[in-house]
């Protein structure tokens, strides 16, 4: 039996400004290692909110979250930062690279923070990841000098640098044209199938979702299919 990389147990989320509204209700599911899962649902149904909780960035929720079997509900901010660094690779809709640095440095950054390898080893690994994503030629360009599709691939390379237990992505193709969306999908598929990388991808592109291994569907903050 595959082990669970992520377990969400009865996760609920309320916003309080100014009235209290419940955005997530009893969200419960497990993700097995190597699974390529998508989360779908209408705009505003709580997908991003859920992903921010699962990625440990939002700690204001009810319920229980485990990553690699570790309960995260009672951990300090610094410990959660370490969990994100070592175990989670995050890909945003708007690429979000550090424009002060070049592509290679952006990819290396989480590895330098983790500090388990020397800078030279991290640089070597960063080049390997960029090769897998077909953008090694851009390595020394400034992050704001490459195209949107390339930026998203750099963000994926950065998410991979510490060999995370899981990659989470929030609408990773939401800002890309069809051709680049297709490239990103193929990369995710290759990561899942060849590298057994666990992936959790929020999307409202049902065509994208239908080609993943598993779909979790949200409606008004509740899981209605998984």
């Amino acid at each position: 039996m595959e082990k669970n990389v992520l377990e969400a147990k009865a996760i609920s989320k309320f916003f309080h400004d100014p009235k209290t509204v419940q955005v997530l209700t009893d969200v419960t599911f497990d993700l097995k290692a190597g699974e390529f899962t998508s989360i779908i649902g209408k705009s505003g149904c709580g997908k991003s909110t859920l992903l921010y909780i699962l990625s440990t960035m939002d700690t204001d929720y009810e319920g229980e979250l485990y990553i690699d079997g570790e309960f995260l509900g009672d951990k300090t901010e610094a410990h959660l930062a370490h969990v994100r660094n070592a175990k989670i690779g995050f890909v945003f809709q708007f690429h979000y690279l550090l424009n002060e640095f070049n592509v290679l440095q952006n990819v290396m950054m989480p590895g330098l923070k983790l500090g388990e390898l020397t800078a030279a080893e991290i640089e070597h690994n960063a080049y390997e990841k960029l090769k897998v994503l077909g953008i090694q030629d851009e390595a020394l360009k400034k992050a704001n000098q490459i195209s949107g599709g390339q930026k998203q691939r750099v963000a994926i390379a950065r998410a991979l640098i510490n060999d995370p237990s899981i990659i989470m992505a929030d609408e990773p193709t939401g800002n890309l044209d069809h051709k680049n969306s297709e490239i990103v999908f193929e990369i995710f598929k290759e990561l899942a199938e060849e590298y057994k990388q666990s992936l959790l991808v929020v999307t409202h592109d049902t065509d994208f979702a239908n080609r993943t291994h598993r779909i979790i569907e949200l409606l008004d903050g509740r899981v209605i299919r998984q």
């Binding site: 991003s48 921010y52 990625s55 960035m57 939002d58 901010e77 610094a78 930062a81 370490h82 994100r84 660094n85 070592a86 995050f90 945003f92 809709q93 708007f94 979000y96 690279l97 550090l98 424009n99 002060e100 950054m109 989480p110 923070k113 983790l114 950065r158 929030d170």
Partner: protein, 113 residues
């Protein structure tokens, strides 16, 4: 400091990829201190050069017959005080912004786009 406001996106990225609030503060304190040290050093060099120039200005007074140029005190203590002051000023001017940087919520920034 003004540049923290321009760096909120970068801070959000750092936090999302595993830097803690403390790490982010340390980065900004380091940058501020580097600016403080360089600024202080630059000030010392300028100050010393300016003193040398002023030192050459003729200064005649009957009350002090031995003095012919403008009197300058080159005591090292004043230079040390200047350096400490410039570093301390940079550090304290940045104190609240560092706290702000360490408290930036990445979710708000990432969602806000």
């Amino acid at each position: 400091m003004f540049w923290i406001n321009e760096k909120v996106d970068s801070i959000a990225i750092l936090k999302a990829t595993g830097f803690s609030g403390m790490d982010v503060s340390l980065i900004f304190i380091t940058i501020a201190l580097v600016i403080g040290v360089f600024g202080g050093a630059l000030g010392l060099v300028f100050g010393f050069g300016l003193c040398n120039l002023i030192d050459m200005v003729p200064f005649d007074t009957d009350a002090l017959p031995t003095i012919t140029t403008y009197p300058i005190n080159y005591d090292l203590r004043y230079y040390v005080i200047a350096v400490i002051f410039s570093i301390a000023a940079t550090y304290f001017a940045g104190y609240f912004p560092y706290r702000k940087a360490s408290k930036i919520d990445p979710v708000e920034i990432i969602r806000g786009k």
